[in-house]
Symmetry: C2
Subunit: 526 residues, 2 copies
């Protein structure tokens, strides 16, 4: 057993806290050896003050420094990949291959490198020049960003290496990482490499800091502190809403990813055409990673028909036959059990699974639930509760009107998918349901399951409340995700030599896009 | 006396409310004849339901319809200009010329026409296409927008015609206008013309609705209602924060413009060079419109020096000599008196004015206050309270270090201005103060007073809390102000014919800018 250090102001130091926790290997249910501290408020204040000083120093640095940091960091993660994968596997139970090694680690370093390219290029910052009035504006760093990472992506959404982290850094902001308690060792390793990359890039030493745990009220004080610029949070809804309330009161932007059941509408023509194929696609998507994805298809909307009955049976058989995965933690398992029970209490019928066990460590049988459209509409809120894990609820609407009524009752979600016949037989119905579904989701998908989230400039990993806190922002995709961690800065009549280089008449480099008098341009002014 | 109607679902109807109010002519302190209702919650609910239906209908309309509405509306306002100006003058006491006739009315119709052009063009919506993954995204309408207009711009920020209104409509959203109680007649006239323009353009009749007053708690229910997309509020801080808390809890975007004292730093070289000129510029800016501007220069930062003493004396003389304007209402006057008293209680010394009276109707003597840097730093929060009106506080710092300490103590503001010598004598000091001032304000100005707010794509009429609720958005300037009232909609693998025209491979018109695979382009895909 060893007491682990926190990263404060460029140094690994012993926490002044007196309370410690240990992570648990979810596959063995055994505690791991290392002890991680709960940081008291005095320690958090030291972190905030150091981040504030780092933000001031960082403001005068060229964006090349942030780009270099992100690239060096990505290189360092790859150099230590085997160790990262072993640690994350031990702490989360997520499979080494393909998940951690082939999918998540490369995605994480790819995000960091995309963020580096965006920082170096600068076009993310919406440079706008009005030559007639000599008014110019851009998005620029907002101040220290607090990142709360979730349990389910130890790499790609890690508070010290994931999407929010990369976006905050690309905008030039110091990051205060609040590690998730379920994988503190993975987060510590990221912070170790980040600190080295900070030194190599010549950033202020406090640019990246790490604490593992805080009292709940200190999390609220942190996100609402006057010296903090913004926060990013991915995780459980209740905690997120508590942080949001605190940040909102202080007028501090906080970007949240809270919950989503990701409705999938499978239209009759699609089922007639390729029922078997869709059953396979759905089961793979829903059970992948033991269903612990923000974009897990947790609600499937179907129309009552013979092919629907066959489809449900086919999926049930797949759920029964598929191996049961390990869940991320005992807490996830307990919440999942409670979630399934609550859906059943609200009227859903168990078709497959429904009980804990069936696999290794913390686990729960692959669970398929069913409800009629009448049942759903009688209890639409309770039947939209997220059971985070290897579960989905099939809702069978009696007719098209009821399908639309169900869509009308949907809360905000990250995604909504529609499967329809390739031949066009479902097109009329598609055009009737699309307008409603469109307003309920951030990403509308055709003929694909929602679990793949490409890191694309056009991606929206966001959506209406309560999926997130604001429907205008995405947590994935560069450059848009970077713009969350920036303030709008206008220069009105400011003398040329006092302007940031990117806003001067001369374009500092030929790849930089600027909106000059209403036209996007890579040229100099005039 | 006549009881005025509310505009609900395309019809002017008698309110079901039983409580009425009358506007007051601030120049005569007399009540005007018309009676305006306080709408009960049942009436607000009818408005919300109608707006929701209108939003659904409007979603399928081409943007040309919104553009046509905005243009027809601008034409109609101009056709009735004399009547608008007379009504606004009567209700607000603002001068007919140049203010209402030459400045504010043309600005308002110009905003509407700029919004029309942006709606027609479509480039505001950040169309983004990833051809490799067939993922496409855009910003699109968010749903009904509630607009709360302020007292101080009966035209340009009117809830039924101003900047938030134009931006919300350009994004395709119905507007629920909550008129300001101090100029209900002006607002009613706008809604009359808007309704005619709605008919001419072929928009759903409930696209524009108007109520005059609600109970405070109903305002909160309105901005947090599930069928509402977003809200815009310009006005007093306390009311704004109450609405913000309600909207935030419901996860509804609300854009606020709350208060700002707009620090102006006048550096020693500038005073040596052109003290008389700056004294004139400052006095004109501070007393214009009886100081009732969001960007009124309410705080002037100076360094202790002989030329500073002369400058203060010169401004005092101008304040004493200038005519005293009429304030917008008795409430504004009472708040202003209380604000001045509170600044004096916090240590400020009265140099000029300091008492009510001196002009016509509701009025207060032009007031100049002074405090030392020590005093300011001893009580920085109280000395940053906004006294909304013809007042400014001069703070004299004893040295450069204290000037920077004062800047560090500044809250978020819309603007910050620096006057410096043309010859470069102040450049070293400028570069020392700029980094701090830059993070405290949305718009950084050189050698100009903040009261001019150009409707420019590069404008930022926004800034850090408590000036607004989020530092990333501007209330003035097209296209950026439009993007506030939109949600991000991603299309992932969606079939070509199901995409919005703007996201299909073929660019629907050659002026439309789209970010295709990372490059801004006006071409077709491929």
């Amino acid at each position: 057993m060893s007491k682990q250090l926190v990263l404060v102001d460029g140094k690994w130091i012993a926490s002044t806290g007196t309370s410690f926790f240990r992570a648990v290997n979810p596959a063995t249910c055994e505690q791991l050896a290392d002890e991680y501290p709960l940081s008291p408020w005095e320690e958090i204040e030291r972190v905030i003050d150091a981040a504030d000083r780092a933000a001031k120093e960082a403001r005068s640095l060229p964006s090349e420094v942030f780009a270099k940091f992100l690239e060096r960091f990505a290189d360092r993660i790859e150099a230590r990949a085997a160790e990262f994968i072993a640690m994350a596997n031990q702490e989360t139970g997520l499979p080494v291959e393909p998940r951690l090694k082939v999918a998540e680690l490369p995605r994480t370093t790819n995000q960091l490198r995309q963020a580096a390219a965006a920082a170096r290029d600068g076009s993310w910052s919406e440079l706008t020049i009005d030559t007639k009035n000599n008014i110019r504006s851009r998005l620029s760093s907002i101040g220290p960003v607090v990142v709360f990472g979730p349990n389910n992506f130890p790499f790609a959404f890690n508070s010290a290496a994931g999407g929010d982290f990369a976006a905050a850094v690309a905008a030039g902001n110091p990051v205060i990482a609040k590690g998730h308690s379920s994988h503190p060792g993975t987060t510590r390793m990221f912070a170790e490499e980040a600190l080295e990359a900070v030194r190599e890039a010549g950033l202020p030493p406090a640019f990246i800091q790490l604490v593992y745990r805080t009292a709940h009220e200190d999390g609220c004080r942190l996100v609402s502190h006057p010296k903090i610029g913004a926060a990013g949070y991915t995780g459980a809804r209740a905690t997120g809403l508590t942080l949001k309330a605190a940040a909102d009161r202080a007028g501090k932007p906080i970007y949240l990813e809270l919950s989503s059941i990701n409705p999938v509408c499978i239209l009759p023509g699609a089922l007639s055409e390729r029922s078997v194929e869709i059953a396979t696609e759905f089961s793979t998507s829903c059970l992948m990673g033991t269903g612990q994805f923000c974009t897990n298809p947790g609600l499937v909307l179907l129309l009552d028909a013979p092919q629907t009955t066959e489809f449900v049976t086919a999926v049930k058989e797949k759920f029964d036959a598929a191996p049961v995965g390990t869940m991320l933690s005992e807490g996830v398992l307990r919440n999942f059990e409670a979630g399934v029970k609550s859906l059943v209490a609200a009227g859903a019928e168990v078709i497959a699974g429904g009980q804990p066990g069936g696999g290794k460590g913390f686990c729960h049988r692959n669970t398929l639930l069913k409800a009629s459209g009448d049942q759903f509409l009688a209890n639409p809120h309770a039947l939209q509760d997220e059971a985070f894990g290897n579960e989905s609820l099939f809702v069978i609407a009696k007719d098209e009107a009821q399908l639309i009524a169900i869509l009308e009752a949907l809360e905000g979600n990250l995604t909504g998918a529609v499967y329809s016949a390739h031949g066009g037989q479902d097109d009329a119905l598609y055009s009737r349901i699309e307008p409603t579904l469109r307003t309920r989701v951030g990403r509308l998908i055709n003929d694909k399951m929602p679990t793949g989230v490409a890191v694309s400039p056009a991606m929206n990993h966001g959506g209406p409340f309560p999926a997130t806190g604001h429907p205008g922002f995405t947590a994935v995709g560069i450059p848009a995700s970077i713009r969350r961690f920036a303030m709008l800065q206008c220069y009105d009549g400011v003398r040329q030599h006092r302007l940031p280089a990117e806003l001067r008449d001369k374009n500092p480099h030929q790849n930089l896009w600027r909106l000059i008098d209403g036209q996007w341009s890579q040229c100099d002014v005039g």
